[in-house]
Subunit: 241 residues, 2 copies
């Protein structure tokens, strides 16, 4: 083991469909890494509804299948890009984010093929991983941007699809994502990523008056300073309406 | 849509390693179904530690990859059996359970290649799905047992690996799984499957004096009568020690 403190990683996903569509164009899946740790993979397919879902689901499936075979995140993202480019002849794009807790290297690895930023906070500061990069599927040789962070208590990462940024666009409003994150980091005594993901989503839905203009997915990962017990937990909540 | 009530499905997994082993021989993954809904796939590889993990992970990966392509649960289980039989020449077995919320049919589909029972409770009664069946990997043509249940509020399903049954075996004790489940069903006002999964695990760990004699995984799925909001949520808690 490369880390010597007891730590605990908590991950939360909150996801809502565009108003009046039964399928989200976003796909998010979490998978165990074969050499220890977990990865979350998030894709947003071009347009919305069934067609977008097909694309994002194809991308996420390809990535999780490669990750589960031990392929590294960057190579999996490039493979997914080539695959989508080949399948859809360069006509359909998708954004792709991967965030991995890699226990082999004791790091969090963040992979972006998404113009949107990823927010990264430590106990010291809050920074934005927003160097320019392309979605996948449109060009040959699309490469992801990758950043690798040492796993340590206090590390907090927030990723999202563009629905979060588009919220409020009907009325000319927009969400101040950074301020919500800062307020959470100041107030939260215990890591509670689900609370933060839900705060983003409810603020977005409020701007859209309960009728989201786009599919929204938010992923929050937070490293805590000690594990309450040795139990791994996973939970899912799936509304059927 | 085949169901006309608003409902909410909640799923929880709690998992702990055998004492003093860094890897669990159990694998559990949750995946979105391409035609709507989710599936949870749980496998327990023969023996424990790294070798068992390899087997259970191979089985779960095969099953989720097939499910994500739209293959039906029974066919996916048979494919995983043939695959393990071929890969390991019939010398290694694994138990396999799949539980799916299938929104195409508005049912919960439970697939067993595991001698251990699955508990199924509705608002009316509690029954045990325990017809005889074989683990996969040892024989050609191993078939799963499948049961299909209408999705309705109150439906509660509990599946687990044999670690839960072996708990206490060092001291000749054993867990009364049915009684714990009955007490939960009587007391719980709101569906809280994570609470129940944790109750099973902590009772088992108490019998083993905090040192589990085997890897333990518990999956609880519960259908509630209404969704609190339209948000899908997933959360993961991963202790690193």
């Amino acid at each position: 083991m490369l880390y010597n403190l007891p730590m605990e990683v908590k991950l939360a996903v909150s996801k809502v469909n565009k108003y009046a569509t039964s399928e989200s164009g976003d796909s998010v899946e979490v998978i165990e890494r074969p050499n220890g740790g977990i990865s979350v993979v998030m894709a947003d397919g071009q347009s919305s509804g069934k067609a977008a879902k097909q694309v994002s689901s194809l991308v996420v499936r390809k990535v999780i299948s490669l990750l589960s075979e031990g392929v590294r995140d960057g190579a999996a993202a490039r493979a997914a890009s080539d695959y989508l480019f080949t399948e859809r002849k360069g006509k359909v794009s998708a954004t792709l984010n991967i965030a991995s807790i890699d226990l082999q290297t004791a790091t969090m690895v963040i992979t972006r093929n998404n113009p949107l930023p990823v927010y990264i906070a430590s106990n010291q500061d809050l920074c934005t991983f927003d160097d320019e990069c392309n979605p996948i599927g449109i060009y040959r040789d699309t490469r992801p941007l990758i950043t690798e962070l040492t796993l340590e208590p206090g590390l907090t990462v927030v990723l999202f699809t563009d629905g979060l940024v588009h919220a409020g666009s009907r009325s000319g409003d927009s969400l101040d994502i950074k301020t919500i994150l800062e307020a959470y980091l100041e107030e939260a005594e215990q890591p509670n990523p689900q609370l933060l993901a839900d705060q983003f989503l409810s603020a977005a839905m409020q701007l859209d008056r309960g009728r989201p203009v786009d599919d929204i997915s938010v992923v929050v990962i937070q490293v805590g300073s000690e594990a309450s017990d040795p139990v791994r937990r996973m939970s899912v909540q799936l509304p059927l309406s």
